[in-house]
Symmetry: C2
DNA sequence: AATTAAATACAGACAGGTCTGTTTATTATT
DNA sequence: AATAATAAACAGACCTGTCTGTATTTAATT
């Protein structure tokens, strides 16, 4: 059995902790303790706590977009895939007890000068925005797939944050209904 | 000239700091320094940092709902008032450089056992939800004002968080368009 | 042997909260 | 009005704990 590399262990542990308990509630001493890594080793691989968070967000983006694509792959049409986003949200957020979005959660209470983290959030949201707009364009029946895509993205973001606040699923199901209305 | 009370000064200073730089980025030493209050005095009025935050959120709720009502009061119909929410968002969020929503910002990275803060966020969002649903019901032309109200609320929440991430106004204008589509 | 990683200690700063004595402001009494 | 008592607020020190990051030595891995 090949032991997981130090860097990977740090990223994995930090990802879990940053996501579930919050960036500001997670100290590096906890990360190294739970990852079974020495602090100096950690600083060999990462220049700062912010850089660990960046690695977390990069890994998360890859994982998240991948899972989204997997989830909606069963849909036959681009439009179906867009609507399917909400099924994915429902399944994922229910599974994490409505903990919400890693990017939303980290950007709302961010130490000053942590612009690398901010850039990751913008990157992720732009990727998702383009993904939605592309699906709608591929569907070929919407005059304004960009405008519509923006509106769907806002529904997704709103559903995530509101389900987090309320710890309930109704925002997601309501957002799906609104999405269907806008697309029909 | 009556000097503002100690408690009020703490709440006002903490409100400004919590909102603009974040709950976790604001320490009590900064609060007392900027409020010109002794720490012991602060702890005479508030049991904990969490209690200060609760006072902040209570004051904010009152202020926020008041300003919303003022802003939409120029609209002639309940429906106009709901759509007017987005104009209020645009003005307010532009003014605070898209800093976003006090409740969203605090609940996303919250120390454990701070349930009083959580309760304030739920209370605020429920109030807003009921306010929107009431407007739509008063309009008298929607069969399902509750469902529609939920959808509008999600648009509002999504517009706020996304404009914060992007530091742009397009999420708000897009959300307004979606709102109009859903209401027409 | 070279590289990587671990263990440990440290530095400086900061966190939220407590305590004691002093000062100031307000209230009550004369 | 003056004085005394009370309440509120302040100043400074202190507490325990934690934060992020650095330095050194030793151990483990390649």
């Amino acid at each position: 059995m090949k032991k997981q590399g130090v860097k990977e262990r740090i990223i994995e542990t930090a990802s879990d902790l940053f996501y579930n308990q919050g960036f500001n509630q997670t100290g590096i001493n906890q990360i190294i303790a739970e990852a079974g890594v020495a602090k100096a080793s950690m600083y060999q691989h990462f220049r700062s706590k912010e850089d660990i968070a960046v690695a977390y967000l990069i890994a998360r983006h890859s994982m998240w977009m991948g899972k989204l694509n997997d989830s909606v792959s069963v849909q036959n049409t681009p439009k179906g895939k867009v609507i399917g986003c909400f099924d994915y949200l429902l399944e994922w957020l229910n599974e994490v007890n409505f903990r919400g979005c890693g990017w939303q959660n980290i950007i709302t209470d961010l130490p000053i000068d942590h612009d690398k983290i901010r850039d990751q959030a913008i990157h992720h949201k732009n990727d998702l925005r383009l993904w939605i707009q592309k699906q709608l364009k591929d569907e070929g029946k919407y005059e304004s797939s960009e405008e519509l895509g923006d509106e769907i993205l806002i529904l997704i973001e709103g559903a995530i944050i509101l389900s987090q606040i309320q710890k309930e699923k109704w925002p997601i199901t309501a957002a799906k209904k609104a999405c269907i209305k806008l697309l029909n």
